[in-house]
């Protein structure tokens, strides 16, 4: 019944109905359980304190599963919430749980747009982020993608639909991804500002400080230098001062200084460091990074342009057809085949098995927390890592076995004419080597690599078999 909300108690949360839509209500102070929320049509978050609300919104929008990150989010009692990120990442505000009927057209519109989307599984982290961003923009009918000056951003500006995927320390990657988007013609950018980033961690959280060029201390004082023309004495103004009055006396000739420009001038200034007693005229300006504490030389700061972006027609098309450059990414990995080819090969194998009596297997290797690792190491290192991992897999398989990237986290493998137990043993070994490789190179990174091997059956279609295999890891 429209205009009325049916409440169903759900442990700590509420389930609301709005028309045909089921709304998941997360009350203030309660955790948002994504695995529950994902089955609902929209999420209503009671806006309490801003950081908590933002955290809940982030949790949804930063998820990699489109069913989660595209979910409509509404704020309940959130009218006074002025946080730009929350505002941009939510779809509306209600003031009472009785007003849910107002949300119906919004939810409908979003789902209509979601229906247009094609989900491609991008190999690179960047492509995944671009996909996510385009999907969000498209479903929310946002053509403009402006830079928002945001205090909570480590680069000073936030592009909410993209920035939400990054932690404070990794947010610098947003600009690289936007550059890729612009280069691909997905968005068009108009210059708006220039920012300076730490040359170590790329953060824009910098404190500009005047420091002693010798010891880097900020405990410095400055004085005018005074040149007394008649006797050519020159020294700091304190040399000319006395404790009795405000007149200036030359310490060399004991004359009063009368008129600047006539009998004396101030040709420059001098700084004194109270820490190391050093004297200097050019004080160093350094930018201390709040995040990594690196003291940057100003001239070594990384300069980046901030632009207001606008989605192009190509961008809109990319959202509905999938981000095109992912294909290119896959081709780069020697030893793998395209996912479409892989699907075809599985189809042939199913047909072959109908004629023959032997075992073939389908396997998936899943790098569970790969997103975090990729965001930590950047695009180039990510590519290098994936190449190394493919090498490991390739070396431990027979040349007749097929490998393909499902996405940046998942590798699909077809192992023909081999018992499932042996295939499992091989996969276990491969995963072990991969784990060792990652932990050796990224010491602070917790590696979580999983695998699953299933025999190819003639009873199910090849598509269904691939879907069933990967579903476990994609949830």
């Amino acid at each position: 019944m429209e205009g009325t909300a049916d409440k169903v108690a759900l442990e700590d949360d509420f389930l609301l109905r709005a028309g045909n839509f089921n709304l998941y209500v997360c009350l203030h102070g309660k955790p948002l359980e994504l695995e529950k929320a994902i089955i609902y049509d929209a999420i209503v978050i009671e806006a309490g304190d801003q950081p908590h609300t933002l955290n809940l919104v982030r949790k949804v929008r930063s998820h990699l599963n489109p069913e989660c990150y595209l979910k409509p989010i509404f704020l309940y009692k959130g009218s006074d919430n002025r946080d730009a990120l929350i505002h941009n990442l939510t779809d509306g505000v209600i003031f009472s749980l009785d007003q849910t009927s107002f949300l119906i057209p919004v939810i409908e519109k979003i789902y209509l747009r979601i229906a247009d989307l094609t989900y491609t599984t991008s190999i690179s982290f960047e492509a995944q982020m671009i996909d996510k961003c385009l999907n969000l923009l498209y479903t929310r009918q946002k053509m403009d993608f402006p830079a928002i000056m945001y205090v909570g951003s480590s680069i000073g500006y936030s592009f909410p639909e993209l920035s939400v995927n990054f932690h404070l320390r990794d947010e610098w990657q947003v600009l690289d991804i936007l550059n890729i988007m612009e280069a691909e013609g997905i968005v068009q950018g108009d210059y708006t500002d220039r920012i300076y980033q730490c040359n170590q961690c790329s953060s824009g959280y910098l404190i500009y400080r005047e420091v002693c060029p010798t010891c880097n201390s900020t405990n410095c004082s400055s004085e005018d230098l005074v040149h007394h023309y008649p006797c050519a004495f020159i020294g700091p103004i304190s040399d000319f001062k006395n404790e009795l009055d405000s007149t200036l006396h030359c310490p060399k000739c004991n004359k009063n200084l009368k008129h600047i420009g006539v009998d004396y001038d101030k040709p420059s200034i001098i700084y004194t460091c109270k820490n190391c007693s050093g004297k200097f005229q050019d004080i160093n300006v350094k930018a201390k990074c709040v995040l990594c504490l690196n003291d940057n030389e100003i001239e070594k700061l990384v300069t980046k342009e901030i632009k207001n972006y606008r989605l192009t027609k190509k961008g809109e098309t990319a959202a509905t057809t999938g981000y095109v450059s992912t294909a290119k990414d896959i081709e780069e990995f020697i030893g793998t085949i395209k996912i479409d080819t892989f699907r075809t090969m599985v189809k042939y194998e199913v047909e072959r098995l109908k004629q023959n009596d032997y075992n073939s297997n389908l396997a998936c290797i899943y790098l569970k927390n790969a997103g975090g690792l990729y965001s930590m190491i950047g695009a180039n290192s990510q590519r290098a890592l994936l190449k190394d991992l493919v090498d490991v897999v390739r070396r431990n398989l027979r040349s007749s076995d097929l490998i393909s990237f499902m996405n940046a986290n998942s590798l699909l493998i077809q192992m023909n004419e081999i018992p499932v137990k042996i295939a499992e043993h091989v996969l276990a070994e491969i995963c072990d080597i991969m784990k060792r490789l990652i932990s050796k190179n990224f010491k602070n990174y917790e590696t979580d690599i999983r695998y699953k091997v299933v025999p190819i059956t003639t009873r199910l279609s090849h598509e269904l078999q691939i879907q069933q295999l990967t579903n476990e890891f994609q949830a």
């Binding site: 023309y229 004495f233 020159i234 700091p236 420059s268």
Partner: protein, 435 residues
């Protein structure tokens, strides 16, 4: 047409008395002062040095044991291009406890960038810049103000120094506690660049290397060259540093003498400088130097001649000798010329030639006689021998005329106060205060 036989018969028949009459200027002043006195003094100096060699060695040991900090100050304008070479030459010094302070007096070239870079890379300790030019004295005083050494060594940026130059120039302070300042031995580096630099190199070998040993020994040494001079810090603090130039090198030396300190010349502390390579540049330099004799000796420090409580005989003799030989004899030379023209008009041709021969022989004698006493030559003696006859024209005519012009300009127009070498804002005050 010159007839050699006539000339020969003239000199053989002229007779001793007439020779003295004709060459009175040379015999009375120049031979006595520049050959006899110098030769005797330098022989005595050598003997004294030999006798005091243990004391000298002890002074050196005391200096090295104390290891005092030496502040090397280099004031200048648009000298950036020289600073790197200078800093490198100083890095080679045998004495290591020094700081280098470079003062940029309102340069309008790349000096600030060069010096900041050198400071960043540890070649110099302190670089200070006056955005507005204040003159060399103020630049030197700024360096002095921030110098932390016990001794101050004033250098010119376009010079380079022997590896032991700093050690050598400071050691005499430990030999005689009454020494307030020490001058280094300045030689011409670009002696083979042009004829004018070769003649200056010979002049420096004579007037500086030998002349200053003699004047130092006689206690009348009066100009510590700005290119290489060492000063006691406490003495400089008492004086408040340098006064407005041009001629501030001579002025500071006189001021130190007036305080009762001795001024010493150290021939073994060697500095190489580039001499002006064109007559035009040389004239400009010498006009500036010579004007300062009138300005400082006859005006600012004329009290040296007054019988006041601070009267001091060595200072009096130093000034008297300076004024006599540079100013009075300069005028007397013209009297001599007139004397010859009026009294011996028919013999003038022979007199000029005889003068030339006499001075050339003297120059050869002096050059060869003093050679063993010189600390070092830039080139073998024979390199300069062919040029020695030209010294008659260079020293006897060219420099004498330049000197006369300088004295005239300073006496009549006080031209030194208008010299662009010093900014007008300071010179105006110096003129008003008769400094």
């Amino acid at each position: 047409m010159f007839d050699f036989d006539d000339f020969y018969s003239y000199i053989t028949s002229v007779g001793a008395w007439k020779l003295i009459r004709i060459f009175w200027f040379y015999l009375l002043f120049e031979f006595f002062r520049y050959i006899f006195i110098e030769a005797v003094t330098i022989i005595l100096w050598k003997i004294k040095k030999r006798i005091n060699r243990r004391r000298l060695a002890h002074a050196r040991r005391s200096f090295l044991k104390e290891n005092p900090k030496v502040s090397i100050i280099v004031p200048g304008k648009n000298e950036g291009k020289h600073i790197y070479k200078l800093a490198v030459s100083l890095k080679e010094q045998t004495y290591k406890n020094y700081e280098i302070i470079i003062i940029d007096d309102g340069s309008d070239d790349l000096t600030p960038e060069i010096c900041k870079n050198l400071q960043k890379n540890g070649f110099i300790n302190l670089f200070l810049r006056n955005d507005v030019r204040g003159g060399k004295a103020s630049a030197a005083n700024l360096a002095l103000r921030f110098a932390t050494g016990k001794y101050i060594v004033h250098l010119d940026a376009d010079c380079s120094y022997d590896r032991d130059a700093i050690e050598k120039i400071i050691t005499p302070f430990y030999y005689d506690k009454e020494i307030g300042a020490i001058g280094g031995n300045v030689m011409v580096r670009n002696y083979d660049e042009s004829l004018i630099t070769t003649l200056q190199a010979i002049e420096y070998l004579d007037a500086i290397s030998i002349g200053r040993i003699v004047s130092s020994e006689l206690g009348i040494y009066r100009v510590i060259s700005g290119a290489f001079g060492a000063f006691r810090r406490d003495v400089m603090d008492r004086l408040g540093g340098w006064d407005i130039g041009p001629g501030l090198d001579g002025d500071i030396t006189v001021k130190i003498r007036k305080l009762g300190y001795k001024i010493h010349f150290e021939p073994s502390a060697i500095c190489l400088t580039n001499a002006p390579d064109t007559p035009r540049k040389l004239i400009k330099q010498r006009l500036r130097w010579d004007k300062s004799l009138v300005r400082f000796r006859l005006r600012k420090h004329r009290d040296i001649f007054y019988p006041t409580r601070s009267f001091n005989w060595p200072n009096f003799i130093s000034f008297t000798e300076n004024i006599t030989y540079n100013l009075i004899l300069n005028v007397t030379w013209f009297v001599y010329i007139v004397d010859m023209i009026l009294n011996y008009p028919s013999e003038l041709e022979y007199i000029v030639i005889m003068n030339f021969i006499l001075y050339t022989v003297s120059n050869y004698f002096k050059f060869l006689f003093f050679s063993p006493f010189r600390e070092r030559q830039q080139a073998p003696v024979h390199y300069f021998l062919v040029y020695l006859p030209l010294m008659v024209f260079y020293f006897g005519y060219f420099l004498r005329i330049v000197r006369t012009v300088a004295y005239f300009q300073e006496f009549v127009f006080k031209a030194s106060y208008n010299d662009p070498w010093n900014p007008q804002k300071s010179s105006r005050h110096a003129k008003a205060l008769k400094l």
